[in-house]
Amino acid sequence: MVKVAIYPPNSLILADLIERKGHTPLVLQKQIRQKIKDPEIDSPPMNITEEDPIKGLKYAAIEVPSGVRGRMSIIGPLIDDAEAAIIVDGAPFGFGCIGCARTNELSIFLLRNRDIPVLELNYPTNQDETYVMVNEINEFIDSLEETGEE
């Protein structure tokens, strides 16, 4: 079983395709769950406090806006855990954790620099392109298994 980071990190399609093949998608929602289920913190809605942008300093300097560092404190650990990554360019983005273009640029850069297998794709705009995406993802995941078995 390989831990695969995905970008966007909350993509339904990417997470689902990885899980179908028996691997673990590293998704944002798990990170969020950890935070919001901590009854010790009272900072709704996300339970993010002043401490989180400070934790984000591991990924971005103090001159970087607090919103980027706060987001990195959630996304960063997923990048650290990744054993492989699938990055989709031009995917529709939600507005929360991944609503900040600067955070997304930094996250993708860090994934590319992790020295792990990375698959980069374009988000499909029609049926044929969707076929290409699904095929490439499946092939990529199969190739991970082969490397894992060696």
Binding site: L12, A15, Q31, P44, P45, Q127, Y131, N135
Partner: protein, 157 residues
Amino acid sequence: MSENLCPKVNMGNEDWDPDVITRMIILGPGARVSESEIVGEFHMLGLPLTIKNTCYGSMISGKKDDVLKAIEEIRKLDPPHIFTKERGFAPGDPRRCRGHRFGPREGFHQMEKEYTILGYVAEALENPKEVTVEEKKPVKVDDFKEIMNDYIEKNNL
């Protein structure tokens, strides 16, 4: 005083348990099962789960192992059309519930967009085939010149 952004959280013990997870089950277009059949099937499994019917499919919540087992079973009903996604917040958590918050959830719009190609994904999963897509390239300078000159000539510019 009303707290719309930061509502007080009043959840049960189970919802605070970090081992309790929530999954959304989304039915792609052309699914051979209905939302209510899915919910019925979840109930039939007899696992200790909280099951909720939603506009896009359903939402289940429970111990991680039970949830994953249930999903494995439910996928069997219609493998290519049943998709699943993690959800950070428990069902009805006031911190994310639209009813409490005036505004929509941040992730909702993205799911709406991804849903629009879910039919194609299901199709690709059900009937795998090799497809090549021609990569779009910028027009050649000579071609561009020709078109331009053509246009100038035709319009007496």
